[in-house]
């Protein structure tokens, strides 16, 4: 009997002790140990024993919230989204300002919603920062489109020139800038020129790199365009007393426009995509913005959104060039 008494006593003692001495912090610690060793079920059981404190015990409230968050995290890992949400809500009821719980609830909701809804919400979320990058891309494209035909025209005219030194220099420019990767040229301008005492801002380096490279490409297209105009046109202009430059300016070059628009448009579509290369010299444009967001959120939707923006650019410019071609060539219609 004595032993039975001792047993009962010790049971009562222990249970009273467990109620009195094991506070919520200890329980949390215990649960953490189980989580660390992978016993999620046991951990949840222990965490569930932490009740909402009736009194206004601050420490217990904090621990209660922590426990609910932990439950929600475990549940969301095991894809039990309804219990995860419920746990989050309980945590928020106890502490409406808890940012961790808020974020967790949002991320659980995200994981529950369908893919297209996700893409839509992500688009809204990432659009502003991508748009900033897109503006920079547009700036690069438009400035290069403005500068490179002029550069290309002069290189082309130099190449046709009968004055050998000019022709050779222009040949060399085309040979060099068509013969090396644009990426290498950008690296050279941005990282290499400072060694020669010329330091350029990323934007400046990007514009110079794209401008010169595209001038070299366009030069060959423009040269071919000029050579494709029948020699009779130049002769007629000369026979009327025009000088070479007058004939070029008034007669030959205007006739090349229609022939140049398709190949030049092609180059400009390539340019829109080539601007992505300047992200390597720390220019923040569309590609770089997308890359940054992707590396922060590991969210594929960022890349899809960036692709959509590039497609939008190329589509708009394709339409512009098609329209231009129709308008410029109107005189050839019978």
């Amino acid at each position: 009997m004595k032993s039975v008494k001792i047993f009962l006593f010790s049971v009562i003692f222990l249970s009273i002790g467990s109620i009195c001495f094991s506070n919520t912090s200890d329980l949390l610690l215990k649960a953490e140990n189980h989580i660390a060793s992978g016993n999620f079920d046991t951990a949840i059981e222990i965490l569930n024993t932490i009740q909402f404190p009736e009194g206004k015990n601050e420490e217990d409230t904090i621990n209660y919230v922590k426990a609910k968050i932990r439950i929600a995290q475990i549940a969301s890992i095991t894809k039990d989204f309804s219990s995860a949400q419920a746990a989050c809500r309980k945590a928020l009821n106890a502490d409406p300002q808890n940012s961790e719980a808020k974020e967790l609830l949002n991320s659980i909701k995200r994981q529950q919603s369908p893919k297209y809804v996700l893409f839509f919400t992500d688009s809204i979320r990432f659009f502003p920062s991508l748009l900033k990058g897109a503006f920079m891309t547009l700036l690069l494209v438009i400035v290069t489109m403005g500068v490179s035909p002029i550069g290309g025209l002069f290189i082309a005219l130099g190449r046709i020139s009968r004055f050998a030194p000019v022709s050779i220099i222009c040949w060399f420019i085309i040979w060099f800038f068509r013969g090396t990767p644009l990426l290498l040229q950008l690296f050279f301008i941005y990282y290499g020129l400072p060694a020669l005492g010329i330091t350029l801002s990323p934007l400046c380096a990007a514009l110079i790199g794209l401008g010169v490279n595209y001038s070299a490409y366009l030069a060959e297209i423009i040269r071919a365009g000029i050579l494709s105009i029948e020699s009779g046109q130049m002769e007629a202009a000369k026979a009327l007393g025009m000088t070479y430059s007058q004939a070029m300016k008034r007669i030959i070059i205007p006739q090349t426009y229609k022939r140049l628009i398709p190949p030049v448009g092609n180059e400009f579509i390539a340019l829109i995509k080539d601007t992505a290369l300047v992200s390597t010299i720390s220019m923040v444009e569309l590609m770089r913005s997308a890359d940054r967001l992707f590396n922060t959120y590991f969210n594929v939707n960022v890349l899809i959104l960036a692709a959509v923006m590039y497609l939008l650019f190329t589509t708009v410019f394709t339409f512009i060039f098609e329209n231009l071609e129709k308008r410029v060539g109107i005189y050839e219609k019978r």
Binding site: K238, A239, L240, G241, P254, E332
Partner: protein, 258 residues
């Protein structure tokens, strides 16, 4: 040196090589003011090259060109024969109109724009004045109603008439016609010839290269038969066509054309 004040153009010893081929062989020619010279001959005989040498579209190796008694076209530097300065050449060309076999109208411009282009660009004429002249010359070639058409919308004959108007707008002292009807359908030849004839009646000095013997007989003051870069025979149409019967080569050529 002849003391004929009526001479507009003189060619002396013009010789031109294409590689080793002698395209023009010591050509001498005087053209009087108001004279109509027609050059005929088989293709490859140097007729077009001669015309092109006159307005310096073709550079010749030897010989002298005098226009209005002044030597033009070439200068000598350290014993080397060079083309004259672009400015002088442009000026000479602005005084000599040329009409091409293939018209060479500027396709991106309307008929009127084609005609006013040179007066405005070369002579720096105010646009309003150029338009006035252009409308006059287009009326002269009978194309007032086509002034706003682009060349693509014109027939061959109309194109050539616009090309004539374009040359006339520069008020040239000499007109060169390089086979002006060779690229035309037969039914369109007449309208171009009539235009040239009307111009001839106004007293324009002309050198015409053509294959049309009937036209040559009708318009020419002098007909020249050219072959292998030399003048084989020349004379008034009457002399030319009667002597042609004696010259086997010319009669052969004429019968091959007719």
């Amino acid at each position: 040196m002849k003391k004929d004040n009526n001479i507009l153009l003189t060619l002396k010893g013009i010789t031109k090589y294409f590689g080793t081929h002698k395209a023009l062989d010591n050509i001498n020619l005087d053209v009087k003011k108001g004279e109509k010279v027609v050059i005929v001959g088989p293709s490859g005989s140097g007729k077009s090259t001669l015309l092109r040498a006159v307005n310096l579209l073709e550079k010749v190796e030897k010989g002298h060109i005098f226009f209005e008694k002044k030597e033009v076209g070439y200068r000598f530097k350290k014993g080397k024969r060079l083309l004259d300065s672009p400015k002088n050449i442009s000026f000479l060309r602005s005084e000599i109109g040329m009409v091409f076999q293939h018209f060479n109208l500027f396709p991106h411009m309307t008929a009127l724009q084609n005609v006013i282009e040179a007066p405005v660009t070369v002579k720096k004429m105010p646009k309003e004045k150029a338009v006035k002249i252009a409308e006059e010359v287009l009326a002269k070639v009978g194309l007032s109603d086509k002034k706003d058409s682009h060349p693509a919308k014109l027939s061959g004959g109309q194109k050539q008439r616009v090309a004539i108007a374009r040359a006339l707008a520069m008020e040239p002292k000499l007109m060169l016609f390089d086979e002006p009807t060779s690229a035309l359908d037969p039914e369109l030849v007449g309208e171009v010839f009539n235009t040239i004839k009307a111009l001839a009646e106004e007293g324009m000095t002309m050198i015409i290269v053509t294959h049309q013997m009937g036209f040559a007989r009708e318009i020419a003051d002098r007909v020249i038969f050219m072959e292998n870069g030399i003048f084989v025979e020349q004379g008034t149409p009457e002399e030319f066509f009667s002597s042609a019967q004696k010259n086997e080569r010319i009669s052969g050529f004429i019968s091959s054309i007719l």
